[in-house]
């Protein structure tokens, strides 16, 4: 608590207001012009970085405010962007109105991919950032400049959806030495326009690790859980709306994302049955990626062979893959573990009607 103390002493002497402590932090703000996603990912030595640093709104922009954090940059900056300012102008307006700007660090990207960042000259070493079209990367109290360079490389080289790329950026930042003082918290926020699901405009992906020894890996772990559940569902929702809008290539890409999630899950040795089951079920009921779905359901069954719900998923996948006989066989097994389940009985009748 050295730095806040010095500031406080200054406050006692001069009567100035209390300034918040600097938080050693690295972050990225980014925009995906294809999916219209805007996102922020951040790691810090400070507690609950997700409460202070990342701010985003679909169709508007994404902001990371850090160092001696002025959290009001988040909502105020989004307001500037909403009123039509481009990212560099919005950032300039925030800094111009702040007497403490020399202590601040900020990264901004807007909904057209314009980006900017700023590192106040009183931010603790190493502090700085890089920007490019659609992204800004910044950090303070870092091991060296290699941290932001490594983050930039990871962002440019990683394929796939924005969240995957943002997480790869955090991992690269840490691998390059990361935050000098260590790790405590991490967060990822991704927002995305949607008429039908307005909640995606402020929380498409919104995950936190508030206080953890290994926050980035924990963030990746919870992201994998999301991937197997709500995210797969979201991709299929977007696929449907793209399809309706006649954007077949984008619909295909969204469905491909689910296949990627399935591939990620299947590639993990320690994957849990519920993730596999969730993905397999979503694919089955949407008639996509049935072959991978069968592999996932079979692995889930291997993990929990007496779980009637998982057996039901496998049966459903068999049925949808054109194998009703196998579906009846697996569902009958499920019924032996839950003999009173009317739903399973109905399923067997349905599968039997499919056998010619």
């Amino acid at each position: 608590m050295k730095s806040p103390r010095l500031i406080l002493i200054a406050a006692i002497v001069t009567g100035a207001v209390l300034a918040p402590p600097a938080s050693a932090t690295f972050s990225i703000v980014a925009f995906d012009s294809v999916t219209q996603e805007l996102g922020v990912a951040v790691q810090s030595r400070a507690f609950s970085v997700g409460m202070a640093v990342p701010w985003a709104e679909a169709g508007v922009g994404a902001i990371a405010t850090q160092a001696s954090t002025n959290e009001s940059y988040g909502p105020t900056g989004l307001g500037f962007l909403r009123s039509g300012k481009a990212a560099p102008e919005a950032m300039r307006a925030l800094l111009d109105a702040d007497t403490g700007s020399a202590h601040r660090q900020i990264g901004v990207v807007d909904f057209r991919g314009r980006s900017a960042n700023f590192t106040g000259k009183l931010c603790s070493e190493w502090a700085g950032g890089v920007t490019g079209p659609g992204y800004a990367i910044q950090g303070n109290i870092l091991a060296s400049e290699a941290v932001v360079k490594g983050m930039q490389r990871a962002f440019l080289e990683t394929k796939g959806e924005l969240a995957e790329r943002l997480l790869a950026v955090l991992q690269a930042g840490q691998a390059a030495g990361g935050d000098k003082r260590g790790m405590e918290s991490a967060a990822i926020v991704v927002v995305r326009p949607s008429d039908q699901y307005p909640e995606y405009r402020t929380r498409y992906i919104d995950l936190r690790v508030e206080d953890h020894k290994d926050p980035i890996n924990e963030l990746v772990r919870v992201y994998r859980l999301l991937e197997g559940q709500r995210l797969a569902e979201a991709h299929l929702r977007y696929a449907e709306s793209y399809e309706k809008a006649g954007r077949t290539e984008l619909a295909k890409m969204e469905r491909e994302r689910v296949a990627e999630s399935l591939a990620h899950a299947l590639a993990r040795k320690d994957v849990d049955a519920s993730t596999l089951n969730g993905l397999a079920w979503i694919c089955a009921t949407n008639n996509v990626h049935l072959e991978q779905a069968r592999e996932a359901a079979e692995r889930a069954v291997a993990l929990e062979p007496k779980n009637a719900e998982i057996l039901d998923t496998l049966a459903e996948v068999h049925y949808r893959s054109g194998n009703p006989a196998k579906a009846v066989e697996v569902e009958s097994q499920a019924l032996s573990y839950a003999p009173n389940d009317q739903y399973l009985k109905d399923q067997i009748i349905r599968f039997k009607s499919g056998i010619k």
């Binding site: 409460m51 009001s72 699901y197 936190r208 919870v222 999301l226 079920w281």
Partner: protein, 361 residues
């Protein structure tokens, strides 16, 4: 995966031609939504046997309202309800407006509080047993797939009877719900969201306290641990900030109350034998620089120094508190100890000088 189970039922209905496509599923959850007319805080606390409940269920905006949307969750109800509240509708009116435009209202559960003290909640008849809610004067609590009605009753009782700030009261409600059996299927995630009006700090209108436990064996316990850290590291600054504002607005009574919150935080930290020296140090230092609760702050600094006896920053805090408690001799003794550990520090030398002069900076 119970989620798959209920999705599955819905999908089966879809196959039978009853409802369209894949729908969000029933999620066993209990929550409390509240408004504090004195501090104008609005808050939501929630627990569920479902991953990352904080992404879907709690929504709040200072000066507007707070919402929990659960059971067969439609997360869009959060923003929709806040939008309607912003137009001036009361919580019960918003509930009616949402019901009028929803084809599966019978499967929904919601709690809403507005910023004028209005509250309303709804449990659809198709929510899974046990499901129900209780309406208080300035709060609502509700849950589904619960062990029984005692869960909701326990929540309400705990919120009514717990003293102190809203975050504490909301967590006490979650604790009580869990103690009464909680969610039938167990625990996975929890979240606490409190918002509060502030002209100078607009971020508080969206995130005054905003803590998440996404996937954990004992999420409520973990949420309490996080709240303790939050209070220890940010709470004191926030309370002093509001105290100053109330003071400037001539509301001395409210200023006193805000400052008292810091003393409560300090007492709680000491009562649970807090082991985080930097938290104790921060709280003690905040009190020292505001010339408040100097006796309690001294105890906290003492404890911090016994946890980290060679930490110069902590020794400096302890010295400062001795000085402010009128014991310049002791202050010089402790600060000299700090100076032997860090002999190059000009700041420590200046402090010793200041203590010797006996004049408060």
């Amino acid at each position: 995966m119970t989620r798959a189970r209920s999705c599955r039922t819905i999908v089966l209905l879809a196959l039978l031609g009853a409802t369209p496509a894949f729908a969000s599923s029933d999620r066993g959850t209990f929550s409390i939504v509240a408004f504090d007319s004195v501090t104008e805080e609005l808050g939501v606390a929630v627990q569920s046997k479902y991953f990352s409940v904080g992404t879907d269920v709690p929504w709040a905006e200072a000066g507007v309202g707070a919402v929990a949307t659960q059971a067969r969750v439609d997360p869009s109800f959060g923003l929709k309800a806040l939008g309607l509240l912003r137009t001036g509708l009361t919580a019960p009116e918003v509930l009616r407006a949402l019901a009028a435009n929803d084809s599966v209202w019978d499967s929904r559960q919601l709690g809403i509080a507005d910023a004028r003290g209005g509250v309303a909640n709804w449990t659809g008849s198709k929510c899974l047993d046990w499901a129900g809610g209780e309406t208080g004067a300035d709060f609502v609590c509700q849950g589904n797939i619960l062990a029984g009605p005692a869960v909701v009753a326990g929540m309400a009782k705990a919120y009514r009877e717990t003293q102190g700030e809203m975050g504490e009261r909301l967590l006490a409600a979650l604790d009580a719900a869990q103690a009464a059996g909680g969610d039938k299927r167990g625990m996975q995630s929890a979240a606490l969201l409190v918002v509060r009006p502030s002209v100078t700090h607009p971020q508080f209108t969206q995130r005054y306290i905003d803590l998440r436990v996404e996937d954990h064996k004992t999420p409520i316990k973990e949420l309490r641990r996080l709240l303790e850290i939050q209070e220890g590291f940010h709470g004191a600054d926030n309370h002093f900030l509001y105290a100053e504002r109330y003071e400037a607005a001539g509301r001395k009574d409210l200023a006193v109350r805000e400052r008292e919150r810091v003393a409560e935080t300090l007492r709680r930290a000491m009562a649970r034998r807090e082991k985080d020296a930097s938290m104790l140090n921060g709280l003690a230092w905040a009190c020292a620089t505001h010339d408040l609760y100097l006796g309690e702050a001294l105890k906290a600094a003492d404890r911090a120094a016994s946890l980290e006896p060679r930490n110069v920053d902590i020794l400096d805090t302890l010295a400062e508190l001795h000085y402010r408690n009128g014991n310049a001799t002791k202050a010089i003794e402790v600060e000299s100890r700090a100076a032997t550990i860090d002999p190059k520090s000009q700041y420590l030398k200046d402090q010793i000088q200041r203590f010797r002069k006996g004049s408060k900076g």
